[in-house]
């Protein structure tokens, strides 16, 4: 009956089932080829970005593009890494993203627990507010956000921008976590209590581990949003020393445009910004997929 347990079990079966039935079907081969072609199409922009990052700019400008790293060089990456702004922005982005994820997950988790385990007055209006609030366009809010952060003395501060990101991300995260929490049957916890555990302990020992994939899947989403956001950051972090990576990349791009865009360096910078995300993804990948499995179905 444990939803998540059966979920994780069903993630692998299709593969195993396939092995069991090893009849070669021509349709399947065709579909596999189609799948590979689509994979190629999807990965091409990423490949192109990374390839360009290790190719000298002079080669990139030539009329005939080359699709393999014949002229491998690390100088683009080097010149980005030695740009004083990059490491600073990296540090800032890591702090903002880290703080945002922790707060969003904690707050949204409590809220998700409340709305999936209790029926109470105001529950429905909370859910609706949470759904609708993310429909408000952010582009008209800058002045107010700036005034607020300034009067609180939180401009150019990690905590200020994180507070805005947390508010921006809570709706979706609550919504996503709700599905996971609902999926963990309360009976499991109660069974553990019968075995003599206190409720908080039962929760920590039994329920929480089952929610981990869900927390990771939501965390990934929050990570991407906070890592990528750039319009609010532009206004709330006006100081050069407080730039996050997207802001830095954009100024790098426009400074470069002044001299004629050095695509190789811009691509190197883009790659370096993508790398932490890719590493993070690969790190949580296994758990995330199973997280999506249980989260998505309950929606």
């Amino acid at each position: 009956m444990s939803a998540v347990l059966t979920d994780t079990a069903t993630v692998t079966p299709p593969g195993r089932v396939l092995l069991r039935r090893q009849r070669v079907r021509p349709g399947k081969v065709l579909l596999s080829v189609l799948g590979l072609v689509l994979a190629l199409v999807w990965v091409f922009p990423v490949y192109w970005m990374m390839l360009s990052a290790v190719t000298p700019d002079a080669i990139l400008g030539s009329v005939t593009p080359s699709f393999l790293p014949w002229n491998f060089t690390l100088s683009n990456l080097e010149s980005v890494l030695t740009d004083s702004g990059f490491l600073n922005a990296l540090g800032m982005s890591l702090m903002v993203t880290g703080l945002t994820i922790v707060l969003v997950l904690a707050f949204a988790f409590f809220a998700a627990l409340a709305i999936s385990r209790w029926r109470f007055r105001g529950r429905k209006s909370f859910i609706l507010t949470v759904l609708f609030i993310q429909m408000l366009p952010a582009e008209g809010l800058f002045i107010a956000q700036y005034q607020m952060m300034s009067s609180l003395g939180l401009l150019n501060q990690v905590i200020g921008i994180s507070a805005l990101y947390v508010a921006m991300l809570i709706p979706f995260t609550v919504w996503m976590l709700r599905g996971f929490v609902a999926g963990v049957p309360i009976e499991l916890e109660e069974a553990a209590m019968v075995d003599g555990l206190s409720r908080p302990r039962a929760f920590l020992r039994i329920t929480f581990p089952l929610l981990a994939p869900g927390l990771i899947a939501s965390g990934v989403y929050a990570f991407l949003q906070a890592w990528n956001e750039f319009t609010t950051a532009l206004v709330i972090l006006p100081a050069e020393s407080a730039q996050t990576l997207p802001i830095w990349l954009r100024s790098f791009l426009s400074a470069s445009a002044n001299r004629g865009i050095n695509w190789a360096e811009v691509m190197a910078a883009s790659t370096l910004i993508a790398v932490p995300v890719i590493v993070f993804f690969l790190f949580v990948q296994g758990r995330m997929t199973s997280g999506l499995v249980s989260g998505a179905v309950k929606g």
């Binding site: 005034q147 009067s151 050069e240 426009s254 400074a255 001299r259 004629g260």
Partner: protein, 444 residues
């Protein structure tokens, strides 16, 4: 439960709003103690500069000199991106706690912020001290309301033509002496792979030079109202002439804006022919042009047009010869009305408008605010041409709503439509109607 919480929240936001309103309301720029000799509490002040035109040497000079002349105080310089200047100034300037003390602002944006009360008045005494009537009049006007001065010129960059002498000579074409000759010459130089004159369709900042050259105006003040005058016959004539040049000489798309034209103009790094025989750019573009050489730090850079048989310049000729009145790029400087350290900010202005700093600006090709020092520039052909072009230059209308016109990219669109071959008279009439209300700041 929920209701009470909402009320509490509303109450606290109202207090917040009131505090904010209180902070913002004393934006009236009054009493400026002119003399820097008074006892001033040491502090750190901030200067916002846009883009990288003010180079490292200039910045170091400002920081060091400021620290030396103002015991215990320091100057921080923050670089802003040109494309984000308006949002950043809009949010930061009214904010007493975080406002930069001195800001650089595009000359075309200066009027709007001046009218809004963003800047502290420069007292007549200080204005005299900083250069007075020697300061570029058109820029001073952009930052003044009636007789009160708020934003002063920082630097100007006059635009002139960079041409590939090698290509021109090969084609047997002489440097033109009238605007019409120029159009014919660049049309002749155009091939399928090369613009005779590389010009983006949306590049109105270069384009309006043709309007000025034909005696046209973009907008005029009638009584106390600004009126867009694109349909004025002279303006239309200028726009049509520009349309002809664009169509016959440029291979760039109509959607291109004033970008790094030198990219097309230099010999490509990977070999091959340049894609433009002529470009129009501010004087400081020189440092992005030339042959590739290795500098002291080992980077490959352009040599600044050492080889004058390949790279050369001339000022855009006028309709009847002479020098055409081009649009003067450049920027203004102002002290924020909310600056907490106006005395220090004014001391910084004193350094910037000192002979030494003005000379340094002139030496790197940024037209100095004080016209007395332009002579420093006029020591070589670059300087001479820059000064000649600057003397004839014109600015965009100093209307309160001009920044809104720019902010909505109206001129980009106007010039794009003309570049796409539209009927100039019709387009001009259409945009006059659109622009006039914007100029007077009626969008609320």
């Amino acid at each position: 439960m929920r209701r009470t919480r909402t009320i509490v929240a509303a109450a606290s936001t109202i207090t917040l709003a009131l505090t904010l309103a209180a902070c913002g309301s004393d934006g009236d720029p009054t009493d400026s103690e002119a003399n820097g000799s008074a006892e001033v509490e040491p502090a750190d002040i901030t200067l916002w500069l846009n883009g990288s035109d003010t180079n490292e040497d200039l910045r170091t000079y400002l920081i060091d000199t400021f620290a030396a002349e103002n015991e215990g105080s320091t100057l921080s310089i923050e670089e802003q991106d040109w494309s984000d200047v308006v949002p950043k100034l809009t949010t930061a300037l009214p904010d007493a706690a975080n406002t930069p003390d001195v800001v650089e602002i595009g000359n075309t944006q200066a009027a709007t912020f001046t009218y809004a009360g963003a800047f502290r008045e420069i007292s007549p005494e200080l204005y005299e001290e900083l250069g007075g009537d020697n300061l570029l009049p058109s820029f001073v006007e952009a930052g003044a309301v009636d007789d009160k001065k708020f934003a002063l010129p920082y630097y100007f960059g006059s635009r002139y033509m960079f041409y590939r002498a090698d290509i021109w000579e090969e084609a047997g074409i002489e440097v033109p002496t009238t605007l019409e000759e120029f159009g014919d010459a660049v049309a002749e130089l155009r091939t399928d792979d090369r613009s005779g004159f590389a010009l983006g369709g949306q590049d109105w900042r270069n384009g309006i030079s043709w309007v000025f050259a034909n005696g046209g105006e973009l907008a005029v003040k009638e009584g106390d109202q600004w009126v867009s005058t694109l349909s004025d016959p002279n303006t239309v004539a200028g726009l049509e002439q520009w349309q002809g040049v664009y169509e016959s000489a440029s291979n760039l798309p109509p959607t291109h804006t004033d970008e790094a034209y030198w990219d097309y103009f230099n010999d490509p790094e990977e070999g091959g022919e340049p894609e433009a025989a002529t470009i129009m750019a501010p004087s400081w573009a020189r440092w992005s042009i030339g042959d590739l050489v290795e500098n002291d730090e080992g980077d490959m850079v352009r040599d600044g047009m050492v080889d004058d048989s390949t790279y050369d310049i001339f000022a855009l000729p006028g309709v009847d010869g002479g020098v055409a009145p081009v649009f003067a790029g450049g920027s203004n400087l102002a002290v924020s009305a909310q600056s907490q350290h106006p005395e220090l900010a004014e001391n910084l202005l004193r350094i910037i408008y000192s002979e030494e700093y003005q000379t340094m600006l002139a030496e790197v090709g940024l037209g100095p605010a004080n016209t007395e020092h332009t002579s420093v520039m006029a020591t070589d052909k670059f300087g001479e041409t820059a000064v000649a072009a600057a003397e004839a230059s014109q600015l965009t209308p100093a209307a309160p709503g001009w920044a809104a016109v720019e902010g909505a990219s109206v001129y980009e669109e106007l010039f794009q439509k003309i570049a796409e071959g539209g009927d100039v008279t019709e387009i001009a009439a259409e945009y006059d109607e659109k622009i006039t209300p914007m100029l007077n700041g009626q969008a609320g």
